[in-house]
Symmetry: C2
Subunit: 148 residues, 2 copies
Amino acid sequence: MTEEEKFVQFLRNAGLKTTQARREVFREVFSRHQHFDADDLYLKLKERGAPVSRATVYRTLTLLVSSGLVRKMDLGEGRSTFEHVLGHPHHDHLICLKCSRIIEFNNPAIEELQKGICAYYGFKMLSHSQELYGICESCIAEEESDVD
Amino acid sequence: MTEEEKFVQFLRNAGLKTTQARREVFREVFSRHQHFDADDLYLKLKERGAPVSRATVYRTLTLLVSSGLVRKMDLGEGRSTFEHVLGHPHHDHLICLKCSRIIEFNNPAIEELQKGICAYYGFKMLSHSQELYGICESCIAEEESDVD
DNA sequence: ATCCCTGCAAATCGTTTGCAAGAGC
DNA sequence: GCTCTTGCAAACGATTTGCAGGGAT
């Protein structure tokens, strides 16, 4: 079953309708393989001639998150960041404070340690987020050459 | 040097003034040993008879963060969370999604692994945040007894 | 047909800011 | 006294929502 079929199925199960606007948002989300925010999506849809109101973009993103096809993250800075889940197994982020680049990483050893911490506190972990903030390799190189 | 003296010194160095309002906010922040948000502070100050406007609470929190005496965190849910640094060496959080309780933990092994990840990507880490979301021990117990 | 959806604009919420009056040095 | 501060209210930016008209089943 394709991701789009899964979404349609999700809508059907929830007694919701498969509308043109929802399809457009869906396609825009799945055409990207980087992180994005609601406004990125809104602007891209408008620019590509499939305008959907901001309200609908937000409403559809909420549905996509409920369906489990999209992940919503809070990487600081007010707005929420999203990414689709397909081909994106769980990972955490390195976030460059200069250029805002986001690098994904996955470290099973850390995940194991997290489980141990939860066990210690009798805590049942449902999800986690881990962001390392700093300066990425290319920005460091830039800083070194630039003598501004 | 006490924390308050450090704050006064910070203000002085920056050519800023040590006002009554700033002292009040400072004291309220340092009288707490849990996490809080700007509005908690605003309300507590008003209730305790040392009212300071919300604007000033926000402005002073910004100063406290710049001075390094207070840490600002984004634990999701819109508002920012703060905590003072005194006696609070670096730590991460377990956050209960039912009762909002926050448990602090510190795991040097994880920190080491993070450093390794950064080294791998040539990334210079300046700070990090790690939050494990789930259900805390007491809420689990409650769920088991309650048959609602 | 029925009920769900959409766009719009107004409403929210946390936070920031311009401005005129007031307090620190 | 000069300058930094404050409180107020308006401004903000992201997100949500009420409503009336328009589509999907």
